[in-house]
Amino acid sequence: MIQFGQYVVGGLATGSLYALVALGIVLLYRSSRVLNFAHGDIATLATFVAFTLLGRAVPFAAAVAAGLLAAAALGAAFFFFVLRPAREASLLGKIVITLGLALVLSGVMLVTWGADTQVFPFPLSDTRVYRLGGVVVSEMSVGTIGAGMALMGLMYGLVQRTTLGLAMRAVAQDATAAQALGIPARRIYALTWGLASALGGAAGVLLAPVVYLDPYMMLDPFLKGFAAAVLGGIDSLPGAVVGGFILGIAENVFAGYVSFKFKTTLAFAIIVLVLTVRPEGLLGREYRRRV
């Protein structure tokens, strides 16, 4: 039982990372139906920016804030200067454009920072641990789960409780009607891109101390986050969180009891199973609405 608890706690930490990535993907999908394939690379870039600043003796909080701001600025700029001029392109075309951004970004990162893995200095330790009734939790895991939960709470508050969030939801549903009410739809889109990118960046910063930093660091977490988003329902923000945690925990439990090598396989087996029973995802609604 203690063993199981151990795996679940590990899964919670991984799951909150997946959930953060998934939230960013869902946020963008809901607002414009675009799947952002550059999500992981923007996150890695944010982490590299923070890493570089840390190397210049900038305080940790400031460096991370600068990294997230860089991600947000990049996301918003990408919307304004690339997606906006290409607004007549089909949805598929726009998705391919994000794929192009992903390739450009990973190239830039390779040239700037090299392909070697780097150690990302983090104020929390992976080896200092707490014991909760037999279950061992590292400081890093506590930090990751805490930060993840806090960010998810902030997002919920912003989207559900503020006028700005209301405007974001309105633009996501019907941009034309929103504009007719005087809501600046383009600025809202840009803001959504910025927020989603910053969320991804947060996931990157939390992941870097565990897996080491390199330009391809976010590849696996991006795919898992995408899978989590589909599992939870690609148009549902709570679904992204639920999907992220289910995926993280299932993966960890499976890796612990059965096979570490096949943990990713299991994750996707779960997704296939869920989508067979509920095509719209666990909390999604889109499928029903279209029928």
């Binding site: 549903q173 009410l181 005087g182 600046p184």
Partner: protein, 263 residues
Amino acid sequence: MSGGDGALPLRVANVETAYYGRLTVLRGVSLEVGAGRIVALLGSNGAGKSTLLRTIMGFIPDQPEKGTVEVLGRRVNGWDPEDVAALGVAYIPEGRGIFPELTVEENLRLGAYARRDVGVRADLAAMEDRFPVLRERRRQLAGTLSGGEQQMLALARALLGRPRLLLLDEPSLGLAPRLVADVFRIIRDIPSTGTAILLVEQNARQALAAADYGYVLESGRIVLEGTSARLQADPNVQELYLGAVQDPSVKGFRRYKIRRRWE
């Protein structure tokens, strides 16, 4: 905000609009809406009525090709829709443009999005007094409302922005006759709060009964204009838009030709 109270809510002069720069829909349309007036714009399907409203709001990129759209004394050609709206224009598109997955209350709050004054809360309450059904359904998702209730919601939401000009596209579309009468009763009351209306309608009988003045748009041109009384008395309007019964006659074809000439 410049423009002043003396400026006309809407002045459209010689507007030409083409979709994709090729398909010309409006061919030199001019009309005016005075303060506190209801002006009806009649016309059959494809005449360009909705296109005119979309042009005024700035929803058609790079249009109008020629002519001027003036809202409250400001030339708004090339403006973004949200900026036109912020001048004091509310636009209810065909299909009503409500947000189906937001609650009724959230929809209403968005109506006052562009307002920065403190009277919003009081106006919300007043609007719920005016439309009691919206208070009952306040927590319901707007998509679950009936067609008539959705039209009420759209009207209430538009009025919460305290617009100087309201552009209405086919408010009666898809409503049962009784609801149409309800909707028009509300529309007739709107000018008393200082909002002028440009009303696009196919239901000419109701529209002319509510309006002070009317224009008839056909194939992108204004073919007739006048006071509501004059339009109601016009034989062509009667036959084409009010469905007055004419004697069946072998001269029907000739009359057809006459009516297309609009004297």
